[in-house]
Amino acid sequence: MGVVTDILFIALATAVINNLVLINFVGICPFLGVSRRIDTAFGMGCAVTFVITIAGSATWLISHFALVPGSALVNAVNSIAGSKVVEDMLFLQYIIFIFVIAGMVQLVEMYVRRFAPALYKALGVFLPLITTNCAILFACLTIAKSPELTGNFLFALVYSFFGGIGFTLAIVLMAGIREELDNADIPEPLKGPGITLITAGLMALAFMGFKGMAG
């Protein structure tokens, strides 16, 4: 298969079939917390897509050049020590990824504030909140775990970008449903979080229908 076909498959598989929120159940907190209105939900989705793409690429680069067996840093350490001190540095993967995500979010916030004040205003409080969004760490760890993505930077980039698109899709759908729910006659005990969780469950069931469509 050609590269383009691969990319299309990865895009479809991450955004819809293995949707971060509805199939893997990560990033549930913003999914429930910021899905009251479509425009804020879309803002949150864009912010997550933005950060997930940058964090995914950054962690891929760090992983590739410093953590995996035979990478530049591991080789350097071994040659300085004169013997094989470490096989790989993957035991530091989690803490480094969290560190990098937090740092990148800070950096992106400063950059956006300086060069795109309109975007900064639109993203508002969501941008710093994304630091603790588990969907991002999940995407980074998935990239590090699966061989097809670890070997190819382009695929990792596509994966992380469409992971964010999938998140946006899920949260905007949810916000649309919740806006309609405001006008619906919901039984009193189910109002608020109750009906929201039921809706989320039904959406997850619907998305399971995509299972097995593509890679």
């Binding site: 410093a66 840093l73 350490v77 020590a81 001190v85 470490v86 540095m89 035991f91 530091l92 803490i95 480094i96 560190f99 990098v100 740092g103 800070q106 950096l107 400063m110 950059y111 504030r113 300086r114 060069f115 009193e188």
Partner: protein, 267 residues
């Protein structure tokens, strides 16, 4: 084992160093100049972030004042002190307004309310208001503390089944007004420390009111005859607060009210 630990420490320290330099550099390189005036405005805000001004938080209000020329007296927490400070920073004239404070338009405590069966449902006003027959009066205070929960300043309490505002602590943010499902808390411009209020919201005819409450307004109109600041509509007397002055004296009406429902609220 030991080399691995040392290595891990070194790598993390190196990474921390790289990010410290990177973020420090970015902070200086991409520094955004906040106008000194805006910075002063932000410092002048009380920082309660209560939303009483109608903006998302203190920061938003400061920006609204700075960019869009929002009026300086919106902050209910800071009151006139903050309004003066804002006016001073912006270089505009601050006309001292009167503070708005909530009044509870129900004067019936637990003993004054009749036809009150035992209610064993969810103990919130929002739930109880859905149920018919929680108490005889369908307008009065339910006494399940929704306003108490909404208040961030510990300024409203349930005293013997009736919400009572503590005007020493109240800042007038209006949270209780929004929380009350029966809409019987109203913001009133406090011209004086103590204001006269008609503490009843019942719109039913006098006969019905008498059957459910020992103090509720029956719409007899005696107060309206004594002073034209009162109007009686829908069997309920109310005061026109636009005409209320600091020296308005309504003590005759207070005395003559057959139900003793015209009362003072305030300090």
């Amino acid at each position: 084992m030991i080399p691995t630990i040392i290595l891990a420490v070194c790598v993390m320290l190196a990474l921390a160093g790289v990010f410290a330099v990177l973020l420090g550099w970015a902070n200086v390189r991409w520094h955004v100049d906040v106008p000194a005036k805006l910075q002063h405005l932000m410092d002048a805000m009380p920082g309660a972030n209560c939303g009483g001004c109608g903006y998302v938080g203190c920061h938003e209000y400061a920006e609204a004042v700075f960019h869009d020329g929002a009026p300086p007296d919106k902050c209910p927490v800071g009151g006139s002190a903050v309004a003066e400070r804002i006016a001073e920073i912006m270089g505009i004239e601050h006309v001292a307004g009167v503070p708005s404070r909530p009044v509870v338009l129900c004067g019936a405590d637990f003993d004054a309310r009749l036809k009150r069966p035992e209610y064993r449902g969810e103990p919130t006003c929002a739930a109880a208001v859905m149920v018919a027959g929680v108490q005889g009066c369908t307008f009065g205070c339910l006494g399940f503390s929704d306003c108490v929960v909404a208040c961030k300043f510990d300024a409203i309490h349930i005293v013997n089944g009736l919400a009572v505002v503590d005007y020493e602590k109240c800042v007038g943010c209006g949270a209780c007004v929004r929380a009350c499902p029966r809409n019987i808390i109203q913001m009133v411009p406090f011209q004086a420390d103590a204001m006269t209020v008609v503490a009843c919201s019942n719109l039913d005819p006098g006969k019905v009111v008498r059957s459910v409450c020992t103090v509720g307004c029956i719409g007899c109109g005696i107060c309206a005859k004594l002073d034209d600041i009162f109007t009686v509509a829908d069997n309920n007397a109310s005061i026109d607060y636009d005409r209320y002055q600091a020296d308005t004296d309504l003590s005759t009406s207070i005395e003559k009210c057959p139900r003793k429902i015209i009362r003072y609220a305030g300090k």
